[in-house]
């Protein structure tokens, strides 16, 4: 059949058919019939015309698509690298990964300071005002009234912030800030992240920044030791803004506490900080800060702070400080001043309260320093506790005459009596037998004139004249605790030496670090110093029990008020004249009243030292710190369940008739 067709009229004129612009797939169609030609001959046939038009349109459509394809080759091929780099630049962003600042814990793990994540909320009053005005203007141009208004918006924001954040903000203050004539203003510094998210979703025009806030749950508890840290934004690089310590351990251990912030590159959504999932890269993880474990016991610390404040008030002192040391390890259980700042207060801290006089302010210890003489005299065999000395009313050392606190003729005082009754004359007599060199050595071994290294910033070494600069009268002052100065820590440290059988362990306040992975890294133990033999230490400790002895016939010590029923207590009172620069000599009305004690004396657990600065000397509380010691010591025995002493301290004769 096909043959028949091929043989037909169309077969004669294949070339003519080809002139018609139809090319594709003509293998079958080729035997074109004559009518095609006939049409053209006659007139422009509609069919052919239609076909031409179809071909033209098809060409145009495909040409348009091909043109787009060629442009794509340019955009996605030749220019791709440069453009893609721009695309990448507009969406990548390095974001800092904040490192959590370590907490500061007391010896039992109670948190004294820790960080919480917060948000700062800011607003841009002037740009926002302009923006809204523009919108309103546009709406007016379109003949409508815009529902927007700057006043409405700011009022809404203030109202909702008050509703969401509660008492943290004040609506009127917020409004004032929102409507201020500024380009940028912080509304709230430390808002809860969850609540902030609510607000930010409601008002996208609010700017939210990461913050961290340092919480001090105890308020002023141990504030003098812990110190204070807050959000620092001084650094020009905003990535380095973080919580940093200003004072105290927060400052001294800032590096360990703050850790190392991390960083990563992310791609973010256009116009927002939303991270596109799966685009995080170049991640350098943050290393969180270590926790700091202190030797402080927050309960005892709280009690001593209360008591210091109470006794400063009762004694009328300018200030009072107290320290409690572990007798064996030298760890500081409490280090309190009568007043300190409250780091949790919203207004920040009072700069006047920032100092920590317990470590920064040395004072002349007075009779408390007689322990140096006592230790030397026993250690070097100059005397025994029971030896009787004939002590006159005064003694002349070099060009000065020194008397006792009470006037008396020649008294027969035992060595114990000399210290228990705090006889200056007797002490100087013993010191003279010890000699200045051995005395100076003893002071050195006790760490006087050198910083204890307790680990608190601004510690004072006190003041001790070097041996080679001593004048004649120097040796008449030092044994009775004048002419040298020390901090309450150094003072307590001397007593810690005899409480610990003659080995002085320098005090310290930081027990350990807890690394972010949970490992506990103990602070290196300070090097201990053998000061006297254990026997000497025991002897002196026993001798000093008589200070709190209450007995008839002048056999009472200077501080029977310090005695604690059921416990043996060793201690020493001190009263030092303050140098009065106005009159150029030691004052007769301004004193440092000190006390240092060991508890219990037969099995020492704690050493307590305390000092009043310029109390009202005539008042019973201002006259002696014995009551203060008594209160602290009685609390300690309860808190640490210290067993009662097996026997009462024996009553020993102080004055031999």
């Amino acid at each position: 059949m096909a043959e028949q067709y091929r043989g037909g009229p169309g077969g004669r004129r294949p070339s003519a058919r080809r002139a018609v612009p139809v090319r594709r797939g003509e293998a079958v169609r080729r035997p074109s019939p004559a009518p095609g030609r006939m049409r053209r001959v006659t007139k422009r046939a509609a069919g052919t015309d239609h076909r031409v038009r179809v071909v033209v349109v098809r060409f145009l459509l495909i040409a348009a698509l091909v043109a787009a394809g060629l442009k794509l080759v340019q955009v996605q091929g030749f220019k791709a690298e440069a453009l893609a780099e721009r695309a990448e630049r507009q969406r990548t962003k390095p974001i800092p990964i904040p490192a959590a600042r370590g907490a500061i814990l007391d010896r039992n793990g109670a948190e004294l300071a820790f960080s919480v994540e917060t948000r700062a909320i800011a607003y841009r009053p002037n740009p926002q005002r302009k923006e809204i005005e523009k919108e309103v203007e546009k709406a007016r141009a379109a003949g409508k009234t815009s529902p927007l208004s700057f006043d409405h918006e700011t009022a809404d924001i203030a109202r909702r912030m008050r509703e969401v954040l509660g008492d943290q903000v004040n609506e009127a203050d917020l409004l004032a800030k929102l409507r201020s004539d500024k380009a940028f203003v912080y509304l709230v510094d430390n808002a809860e992240p969850g609540l902030t998210r609510v607000l930010a979703e409601e008002f996208p025009q609010l700017n939210v920044e990461n913050r961290a806030m340092r919480e001090y749950p105890g308020g002023s508890l141990a504030a003098n030791v812990v110190g204070y840290a807050n959000w620092r934004s001084d650094d020009p690089d905003p990535e380095k803004h973080s919580v940093h310590g200003l004072i105290g351990l927060e400052m001294l251990h800032d590096n360990e506490l703050s850790g190392q912030p991390g960083r990563q590159i992310v791609e973010t959504e256009g116009g927002a900080d939303v991270v596109i999932p799966g685009t995080e890269r170049d991640r350098q993880p943050a290393v969180n800060g270590s926790d700091l474990v202190l030797t402080i016991d927050s309960d005892l610390q709280f009690f001593t702070q209360q008591k210091a404040a109470e006794f400063a008030r009762r004694s009328g002192a300018k200030s009072a400080s107290v320290v409690v040391l572990d007798a064996k390890t030298g760890e500081v259980y409490a280090l309190a001043n009568d007043k300190t700042f409250d780091a949790s207060q919203p207004g920040g801290v009072d700069p006047k309260l920032l100092s920590d006089p317990a470590v920064t302010t040395p004072y002349e210890p007075g009779s408390v320093n007689k322990i140096v003489t006592a230790m030397s005299a026993i250690e070097y065999g100059v005397t025994t506790p029971e030896a009787v000395h004939q002590v006159p009313g005064s003694i002349k050392v070099a060009d000065r005459t020194v008397g006792d606190a009470w006037s008396h003729g020649v008294l027969n005082l035992t060595t114990t009596g000399i210290f228990a009754k705090s006889s200056n004359v007797g002490t100087l007599m013993l010191a003279d037998q010890v000699g200045p060199d051995r005395f100076s050595d003893m002071l050195g071994r006790l760490g006087i004139g050198k910083r204890t290294g307790v680990g608190l910033p601004g510690e004072s070494p006190g003041n001790l004249i070097p041996r080679n600069q001593w004048s004649g009268s120097t040796f008449g002052n030092l044994p009775i605790g004048q002419g040298l100065s020390m901090t309450v820590l150094q003072m307590a440290g001397m007593y810690q030496a005899i409480a610990n059988d003659g080995v002085r362990v320098p005090p310290r306040v930081v027990a350990a670090r807890i690394a972010p992975d949970g490992t506990r890294i103990p602070e290196p133990r300070p090097e201990s110093v053998r000061v006297v033999s254990p026997e000497t230490a025991t002897t002196v400790r026993d001798m000093l029990r008589s200070v709190v002895q209450k007995a008839p016939h002048q056999n009472s010590g200077t501080a029977p008020d310090a005695a604690l029923t059921g416990y043996q207590v060793s201690g020493k009172t001190g009263t030092a004249q303050q140098y009065d620069s106005a009159i150029g000599r030691y004052s007769d009305s301004k004193y440092w009243i000190t006390f240092a004690g060991i508890l219990p004396a037969d099995n020492p657990r704690f050493v307590v030292g305390m000092v009043y600065d310029t109390p009202v000397y005539s008042s019973p509380e201002g006259h002696s710190a014995a009551l203060f010691f008594h209160d602290v010591a009685s609390y300690i025995t309860q808190r640490y369940n210290i067993p009662l002493s097996k026997e009462q301290a024996p009553i020993v004769p102080l004055v031999i008739p």
Partner: protein
């Protein structure tokens, strides 16, 4: 014919592999044979339709996830679910458009035209809803409907109908232009009142396509082109935002964060994708960098995620649509179908070309969407109807008609319960008029009868219909239009 239809699908694959001329020839022969099957056009339309629909859904899902997440609804799927519902509705309408006899559609086209003009008027009243400054939508609860999309279809169907009816007198300008051009101008005016430039441009394309395929003189199009340019210029200068678009097109870098933002971002997204793309779902441009990413600028996201390859696929699909649509138009014999198929194809492909053109930076940004791929309810539904009509037209190719009528509907047709298409019958009224044209009459009477009558009759009645006779039959149909068939019957 059956064997041919089933054996060839893989014939297309070994494209350009052969080095030897022999293989090229073999390939060409195989391709030609495949394309020669009676239902090749129909299957190609279905393939293009299916691929575009699936690609569109996938890309809408990818592009709209960020937008959806930020709007209340079904989380990441709010926009996608909406699109899925529209596509489901569209699929049903696709089936309807595939099934309804074209003659009935043609008969309904004047009604559709009147109805759509009424809708265009209604949308300007408070019945319509205003969105982004244009009053283009009817909103009924969660469903919105954009009448301009339907208008494009109505204009194409009705315009083709009118021009075909007037075929004999089209050489007179009055008949060529009235009533199609005034009706279209009325539509333009109503659409510009919304105002919707993109809709007007598409309507204009439909009108131009109609006139072009009706055989209007070329000089009309020259005049139209000049007038169109002037009109666009006037409109652009007249309205601030359009002027901004034009200015930003001429110099997009000048105002990167302002009006040229979209254009620049589209380039960045395309470049970011490079040759192979960043992977499906991985395009960063949808994260609020590219405005309208699931809509007008979805092609940029295709470039971002699927790279140059994905873009080429889309371009290729639309190019294939152009080829197949035009093939359907040329192979049909019913003048109305020829014109409708050609016009609808031009509409879809031109819309795609304009959209892609402005996304890649060849044209100023207009709101014209990418058919079947951009998310958008009415547009997707109407586009699917258009594909249904195209597929229906493809089934009306004479070879297809004869094959379907003799061989049965085929697997797809049975599945879809498609009725067998009716062969074209020229309108009876014209028959007496035609013989009066002497040259045609001569040609017909001499050739047709001698050559065709006998074989045709034999084929239809006596022998099993093979591919060759069917092809030949078509050939003859084409060579001798209209009256030839009249003679056959």
């Amino acid at each position: 014919m059956v064997t041919q239809a089933e054996a060839r699908p893989q014939a297309e694959r070994p494209r350009r592999t052969g080095r030897a001329p022999g293989r090229v020839t073999a390939f060409r022969v195989a391709l030609t044979a495949w394309l020669g099957r009676p239902l090749a056009s129909f299957h190609l339309v279905l393939a293009v339709f299916g691929l575009l629909t699936v690609l569109g859904l996938v890309m809408v899902l990818s592009a709209s996830s960020v937008v959806s997440f930020n709007t209340p609804g079904f989380g990441l799927y709010t926009v996608f679910f909406k699109q899925l519902i529209y596509v489901s509705v569209g699929a049903v309408l696709f089936w309807v458009a595939l099934r309804v006899p074209l003659a009935r559609i043609r008969a309904l086209s004047p009604t559709a035209m009147v109805g759509s003009i009424l809708l265009l008027m209604a949308v300007l009243t408070p019945l319509g809803a205003e969105l982004n400054g244009t009053r283009s939508w009817f909103v009924l609860g969660p469903v919105s409907f954009q009448p301009v999309e339907v208008c494009k279809l109505a204009l194409a169907l009705w315009g083709a109908h009118v021009l075909v009816v007037k075929k004999a007198v089209l050489h007179r300008y009055r008949h060529l232009l009235v009533p199609v051009v005034p009706a279209a101008l009325l539509m333009f005016a109503l659409v510009m009142l919304q105002p919707d430039l993109a809709g007007t441009v598409t309507l204009g394309i439909v009108l131009v396509a109609l006139l072009w395929f009706a055989g209007a003189p070329v000089r009309i199009f020259g005049a139209l082109a000049l007038g169109g340019l002037a009109g666009v210029a006037l409109l652009a200068v007249g309205t601030e935002y359009r002027l901004d678009r034009v200015v930003s097109f001429l110099n997009p870098e000048q105002d990167q964060l302002g009006k040229g933002f979209q254009a620049v971002q589209a380039q960045l997204a395309l470049a970011d994708g490079g040759l192979f793309g960043r992977g499906l779902g991985q395009g960063p441009s949808k994260w609020n960098f590219l405005p309208n990413v699931h809509n007008d600028f979805i092609f940029a996201l295709i470039g971002d995620e699927l790279g140059f390859l994905g873009c080429s696929l889309v371009l290729g699909l639309f190019a294939m649509l152009a080829v197949v649509g035009m093939r359907v138009a040329t192979r049909n014999i019913d003048p109305w179908i020829r014109m409708v198929a050609a016009t609808l194809t031009v509409w879809l492909v031109a819309q795609a070309a304009i959209n892609i053109g402005y996304v890649v930076g060849l044209l100023p940004v207009t709101g014209i969407t990418l058919p079947m791929i951009s998310s958008g309810g009415t547009s997707a539904v109407v586009t699917m109807v258009v594909f249904g009509l195209l597929a229906n037209c493809a089934r009306h190719e004479p070879e297809a008609v004869s094959a379907l009528r003799s061989q049965g509907p085929g697997r797809f047709g049975r599945l879809m319960r498609l009725p067998a298409p009716d062969p074209y019958k020229p309108p009876k009224k014209r028959r007496p008029a035609r013989p009066s044209a002497p040259p045609r009459g001569v040609a017909r009477s001499t050739v047709d009868h001698s050559r065709r009558g006998a074989p045709d009759g034999r084929t239809m009645s006596g022998r099993v219909a093979g591919g060759a006779p069917a092809a030949r039959q078509k050939k003859t149909n084409r060579g001798a239009p209209r009256t030839a068939k009249g003679g056959r019957r």
